[in-house]
């Protein structure tokens, strides 16, 4: 038992060191395109985990994530853009004071973005969390749409439909992976705490949870606001990665993408969300050929715009219909299970056999 624990600690430490080494390598030597995709992976992991807290762990079917991301993205962007750029972009209606002169360090701007999103989340929580199931889903979706419409119309703060351009590219792999790791650690700690158990109890059976003395409104709000906070930070990272944002970006489609990640990874598994964030993001890139034409030399395979999205929505339905628990179900990643898995056993078997053949065996 103790030996196993030690082994796991070593494995974890080695993995973290490898990851750090990889980030260093990627930042310095890898193609910008790949680095960008990796950044998106980490950001989607953050968004997936934060949605999973609300939907997977607390059982609240919230569809308002795009709205949260929008608040975070706009806040962080406005706080990090240089005043000169702001003046240039807001040529129709000038940006209100004091936002036009404000300029914060990136981490501080992210934090403010997250906190402001959490505040918005807490304001939405009071009315919507009294609702259940579908009603909650449609009300949260409604709030996200309202946020989007408001952002389209408040020219003097958001620059309306034109959106923000020239957002400084401050997001790098250290920030995105660092934030993802921070999110994972905090949320893991949360779900394993007494509060986390209370959230799971609410998911399992609200009436029983309430009969056990759990204040439903309070705990649902805590989960919702925490999810909003991390979604806001994720949004902030995304805005400062892409360089441009506009209200159209934060439509229901975006929430849908995150939902796909959560469902594919497993509702109620944070590590599942991370794994599926990588899969979905890379698949999204590598399936680009579906939208474009490929020249096979003798024959041009005509791609169709939108084909990728067809594949994606079909995947979501396929997962829900035939593979409801996703990659990880409600379990978290663990070395014990990985090492005990069939694939790994076989690999170990092969490895040992080769060692024997080579005569290295003691």
């Amino acid at each position: 038992m103790a030996e196993q624990k030690r082994r796991n600690q070593i494995l974890t430490t080695v993995s973290i060191l490898l990851l750090l080494g990889f980030i260093y390598f990627a930042e310095n030597y890898l193609d910008l395109y790949i680095v960008r995709i990796l950044n998106v992976c980490a950001i989607y992991a953050i968004l997936g985990m934060s949605m999973n807290l609300i939907n997977g762990f607390t059982g609240l079917f919230s569809l308002g994530h795009a709205g949260f991301m929008a608040v975070g993205a706009y806040t962080t962007a406005l706080l990090t853009m240089p005043p000169a750029v702001k003046q240039q972009i807001f040529y129709l209606t000038p940006l209100i004071k004091p936002l036009d002169q404000m300029n914060l360090a990136f981490p501080l701007a992210l934090l403010v973005g997250g906190l402001l999103t959490a505040l918005v989340g807490s304001m939405i929580a009071a009315p919507v969390l009294r609702l259940k199931g579908d009603y909650l889903a449609i009300a949260t979706l409604g709030f996200a749409e309202i946020i989007r419409v408001v952002f389209t119309n408040t020219q003097s703060i958001t620059n309306g439909a034109l959106g923000l351009k020239g957002i400084p590219a401050l997001t790098n792999l250290w920030w995105s992976f660092g934030t993802a790791a921070f999110t994972l650690v905090v949320l893991l700690s949360l779900i394993n705490s007494s509060y986390g158990r209370a959230l799971k109890a609410i998911r399992e059976d609200e009436t029983a949870a309430e009969a056990m003395g759990i204040n439903l409104a309070k705990h649902k709000t805590l989960s919702f606001v925490t999810g909003a906070f991390f979604a806001g930070i994720g949004g902030g990272l995304l805005g400062n990665l892409l360089g441009t944002i506009d209200p159209k970006m934060f439509s229901f489609m975006f929430t849908f993408n995150i939902l796909l990640i959560v469902v594919l990874g497993g509702m109620g598994s944070l590590t599942g969300s991370i794994i599926s964030a990588f899969i979905v993001t890379f698949a999204n890139e590598y399936l680009r050929f579906l939208d474009e034409s490929i020249n096979l030399g003798f024959f041009v395979l005509r791609g169709k715009v939108g084909m990728r999205s067809v594949v994606f929505s079909a995947t979501l339905m396929f997962v829900v219909l035939f593979y409801r628990h996703g990659l990880m179900g409600s379990k978290e990643f663990s070395w014990d299970r990985l090492l005990a898995s069939r694939v790994c056993q076989r690999m170990q078997g092969c490895f040992k056999k080769r060692l024997l053949k080579g005569g290295y065996d003691q």
């Binding site: 579908d134 009300a139 994606f312 979501l316």
Partner: protein, 297 residues
């Protein structure tokens, strides 16, 4: 604002409300029978307009043959969606069903983009309907009068079907309790399928008239009306057909009047429905005609 102008807005509101009502009924019936927001309903409505487009423009079939064909095809599409996306999930948790519904919705939208392109197409409205008539000082499309009339006829037909026929009785029974209905010898799957067909049929009626009123069709045209009509159903009291109609009119007339009286808020037009939804949910979550149900503990 002159009386003439007001009347013009009102007639616009009534015809928009009629369209909302027709689509909202589909949501409310499906919700009544499956307790599910059929997210794909707005897209089924969109498909109906494409069917009409291909019938008239591509295949040059006269409109009076195309339109009935469209109704049948759309009803079939609705039943198909139910069979593929919802039927396998009867015993699954509700959240799976809802996700499948969202998946089906996006699938239809994207499939339409792939097959028919994302560029808007002009809807081939027969001249008969789009002619303009002069009423007093204002000129109004004939369509504005036809829409409420067709809606009323469709509603009367629906009422007859639900209240007087055996199938209607089966639908009502299934929406009360699946198990009991099954014990009574009702074929649950067939009844649910029929409900989807009927809802989609009405959405197609709405879709054709929508296409004539706003003669530009595109793959994402069903999203916003779809959401709004679900909201209309919630406002009226979900599961209640009369409620869906009332909700549809409140939303349609309210939207037009908002823009007419408070032009500054035009940009917020699409948020109106959501604000209304949240107000209703906070004050009377079961909607105007909904009944309070106590949860069994």
């Amino acid at each position: 604002m002159t009386l003439d102008l007001f009347l013009q807005h009102l007639s616009n509101g009534i015809s928009l409300g009629s369209l909302y009502a027709l689509i909202a009924i589909g949501y409310t019936m499906v919700y009544g029978i499956l307790r599910l927001i059929n997210f794909a309903h707005g897209d089924i409505f969109m498909m109906a307009t494409y069917f009409a487009f291909f019938g008239i423009v591509t295949f040059r079939i006269p409109w009076f043959i195309t339109f009935p064909l469209v109704l049948v095809l759309t009803a079939g599409l609705g039943m198909g969606v139910e069979t593929v996306a919802y039927r396998p999930l009867r015993e699954a948790p509700k959240i799976s069903l809802l996700i499948s519904a969202i998946g089906a919705s996006f699938f239809l939208e994207n499939l339409t983009i792939v097959l028919f392109g994302g560029v808007p197409k002009p809807f081939p409205a027969p001249k008969l309907f789009t002619d303009v008539v002069q009423v007093g000082a204002v000129s109004i499309q004939k369509l504005t009068f036809y829409i409420p009339i067709v809606t009323v006829i469709a509603l009367l037909g629906l009422m007859y079907l639900i209240n007087k026929t055996k199938t209607g009785m089966a639908m009502r029974a299934v929406s009360m309790d699946h198990e009991t209905a099954r014990v009574m010898g009702i074929n649950i799957n067939r009844t649910i399928s029929f409900t989807f067909g009927l809802g989609s049929f009405l959405a197609a009626v709405g879709g054709i008239m929508w296409g004539m009123k706003f003669p530009q069709i595109q793959p994402l045209m069903g999203v916003i009306p779809g959401l709004k009509c679900f909201i209309a159903a919630v406002i009226g009291g979900i599961g209640n057909i009369g409620g869906a109609v009332i909700g549809g009119f409140i939303l349609g007339i309210g939207e037009i009047m908002l823009v007419a009286f408070l032009p500054d808020l035009t940009g917020y037009r699409d948020a109106f429905a959501f604000v209304l939804l949240i107000l209703i949910l906070m004050s009377k979550p079961t909607g105007i005609l909904g009944e309070k149900t106590a949860e069994k503990v």
